[in-house]
Symmetry: D3
Subunit: 235 residues, 6 copies
């Protein structure tokens, strides 16, 4: 099975729902075990009470979607780029070895937020296909409204997806999970609203003839011999 | 004034509405004179009756938006790439010299349809900024649902817009104009539906904090001395 | 099952083996039904006897790999770019509707040979995900020694694969199939030799910790609702 | 008016003149209010006396061009990348909210100097179009001789401008302002000489049929409804 | 010796001087044998008298620079794209086998003129490094004012050079050769004037600390064993 | 002579052999003087004994190839990105001024390891062609198995080489030097094995008709007047 173990790496709480909420739910419904790992902790930039609130919201959202495990990596928000590489890599390496995912969703490498960029880099280092440790079968970037579409045209690579998942049946669950993030939605950023998330799902779906879709950029897909991918009997 | 004379180059009827309907209408409301040029003629690939019908629809759509002039260049559909360059360039060159546009909207260079690609090329040749003939101040590519988002990721440049126009007030007019294209909508292609067009407008708007927007890729913006752009007195 | 129906589009005989021989064989072994479509016919550029010979070789190679169906589209070699788009699209459209593939392998868009470029374009047009006709789940480009690596760095996109298939167990079959193409190998082009093909397989494999691999560029992966992809029960 | 409030962000003194001197002057002459913000302070890498000198030169250059306000952000030179993101973003965010610019010029994202890269990033974060705070209508990158053209071809995006401003009438003022930077010119770097600056202006002009031009890369152009852009009455 | 045999492929007369005039002259002065091949013939698009005139000018320009051989391939202007690939390839293949060049200069692949694009493609096909026939050691694209800088930013690759040749000592010869092209200069296109050519040379030089330079994009550099490149004794 | 003084910049010991071992040896055999500079020191991340061992291996490998000088820059491993730019630039600047190289090999800018990226950046800053100090004639990136081919397709530039050097005669020396790195090979990473290195050399060679080759990306090639490049007498 290609997606029994799924890991979503989210720099900040709510990125996991915005980027993969519908796909996550669909995978869970068909038997996958999903782990969400939130990379950063808001303190001391934000007050502890605010961090507690958003984490409570993250738990509610995870519950709406049926997420099996919610991990907090507790790395420092907005200063990931100031960590020694070796330390950063160790945290992400441990995450991969511990959760042994088949499919991993990570933020887009050129998202406007530096924490997203650092998470992308650290995740790819941790999943180097060097033949040692756990092998990840599929790595894909998700898109985050209010980050991913603010790249600089003509300079930075834009998000140009090559994988579309029909989320028609799970869009409601996605939006429901997002509504749990009251603290994030209350800021009234148009780009991060329920309406924006739905419009994006409708647009992505329309491109490939689906009522609603989430779109991803597959970075690496591995069909190893031992997990017998390409086998008609088991897929 | 930057946009008094506006030209939209549409490979086939309805591309002009899909790509620029809302912006066109907004520009018209504020005084611009808009010309739409349809590049190809459907015959003999399609029956003459069908060509007559879609042209009647094009006229109705133009009327809804208030387009001042609708031109049919009558080049052969799906065989533009078989025309001698010199002949193609002459048709487009004449169009530019005749309509003397300040702003020109053209299809995206990597749209899936070869006619779009050829129209892009011919338009850019016709607007070479060589200091002779009419000077175009702004050239921008529009996006066409069911063509523009079918590029090949990782190989072809994707449409990564750098210009957003708020069309909140003119979205209804755009959709109304599109509804005149009954023959095109009747094919029931999800990517070319009213819903797809609206979802895209909502998504593009959400990226930049607008309820609805059309997005473009500015290819070349010229602030010449003689038209005194950058002048606070006249802009 | 993701790959029960597989289609390989080869501009000229032997491209299918060079690009996908090992993966094809692996898919066949696990139950997939594989069709190979050869796009062009060598005459009149090459003598009819030569065309007969290479087609006989193609049949032998197909037999070695266990290919279920070998199609000859009989389009004119080196003049694909001179065909009207509509005609080209019809041939490729018919191929897709007839073979109803789940996975389609096509040449790389920037291969040095114009026939490869035209085949890529026509294939993508034929597989527009517009919600009508047959839906293809996965489209991927393969690499062809002596074409794909002759792109122009700094100008043209290079082949940068995102999908690796372990062909350790089927490499011998691939090389065996290639050896049937005596007429092609006899030309003694280093880039198109058995040694070159094996070196590439070893290199691609080494990148991802496999003894031998074929690498592809996934252009589009669709997980539609109705084929219930993402389902843990059936994959 | 599109450009009444203009902000130029310069990592180090003289970048503002090299990149935008002629355009700045032209905008000032036609009524724009121009602010220049110098991002870094040379100490302690350079002696305080040298910093005083170059700042005096910056003031003289600003006077030659008629700049209305010259801001020194006093961030540490060559160590911008070591600042916490949140702190960096706050400085740039305050600058935008304080100066409320319509048009902002920033360094090119791939300039060879890390301070330029960091300034680009921080500026784009500060101008996220999230619908809160001040909205910037146009963001454009300028080119800096001796930084911008030292990118790595084949790896890093090069500066490929999409906006040309005729500076024929203001080139003298630009060069005059540059001559005030005696400390910078005295280093005798060919790439940063008066001759190099003029040659670039002549070359850029020649591309678009102007005697002299400055070229920019428009990153984002917003035509919001409330500032009634596209209005023929006011532009 | 790396450049004893040099071939310049020019789609139309004057491209060879604009792109490589200074480098050609420098190479000739140090012993290289230079061939210029003009790809197209102007008739019937242009009158025969005009073709005769520009060819006479081409001969004069070649004489100024000391070119050893001037070839006219006589392919049809503006309709190269309508030739069968095999025919086109044969003409270019013969050219390479006949002139046996070590270094070949070709137009940039994305020049605005279709003839330039076709010449680029045909030249690269003819110089496939397949181990048969003559091996070319270096292939480089030159830039042509009034073609190369009219690419579409954000869509087409721009000319981003990786090779600079100091032409300080031969710039006069280059400009002198260009002045022989009276028929081309008389059209008064700013982008194709003596002034534009000189400004570009000054700008390119300034980037790398030279008074004047020509810039190229190296596409492929081969150090084969048999010509013992990398040998300190002979280079 | 183009390559009498050659410098290879290696972030960690063994990168120099993996990337340039065959070319280095070939250049040495024909008279070049080669310096290898190892950028980082493993302590304190790795125990001192391990650092001593790998440095002993580096010396042995250098001896196998005939390297003239082996430099250890002793910068901190995995924390290069935390050094002030000015300090980093000084170390690399001193290296260039001290070794006065004609040709410099550096890691690829997008290698998966941050130390490689930082080394690339610092090297390019140190070799700015600003007309002051030592001028480097050629800068090229080499590829490192287990780093270079782990870029993210669709987001990061891939390694697309434009320079091939025939290493058929020196491949054995390269592999012999690599075998001295027992501590690195003992980790049993398929991507960093002797087999992987040889497969890559065979593949790169096959592309250009050579039995074995190393491939590079030329970033900048300068033919200055004073070293009379392009001279037939001396090359």
């Amino acid at each position: 099975m290609q997606t029994p173990n799924v890991l979503i790496i989210a720099p900040h709480p709510d990125d996991e729902v915005i980027g993969c909420g519908g796909t996550m739910r669909r995978m869970i419904e068909t038997g996958a075990k999903v782990t969400v790992a939130i990379v950063t902790k808001g303190t001391p930039l934000y007050p502890a009470s605010q961090v507690r609130q958003v984490r409570a919201e993250a738990r509610k959202a995870a519950k709406v979607l049926g997420v099996h495990r919610l991990d907090f990596l507790d790395l420092p928000v907005t200063t990931l780029h100031l960590m020694p590489e070796a330390k950063m890599n160790k945290v992400f390496g441990n995450l991969i070895q511990r959760s042994k995912p088949d499919t991993v969703f990570i933020p887009f490498a050129r998202d406007r937020h530096e924490d997203h960029r650092q998470s992308f880099d650290a995740a790819l280092v941790a999943m180097r296909p060097d033949g040692r440790g756990h092998r990840v079968s599929r790595i894909a970037c998700y898109e985050t409204v209010s980050e991913t579409h603010w790249t600089a045209p003509g300079v930075e690579a834009c998000f140009d997806p090559n994988w579309y998942v029909d989320i028609t049946a799970t869009l409601d669950a996605k939006l429901g999970a997002m509504r749990e993030y009251k603290s994030q939605l209350s800021e009234a950023i148009p780009a991060r609203s329920i309406e924006a998330i739905e419009a994006l799902a409708r647009f992505r779906g329309s491109v490939v003839g689906m009522p609603a879709a989430e779109a991803f950029l597959v970075i690496r897909d591995l069909w190893a011999a031992q997990d017998r991918k390409g086998s008609a009997r088991r897929r």
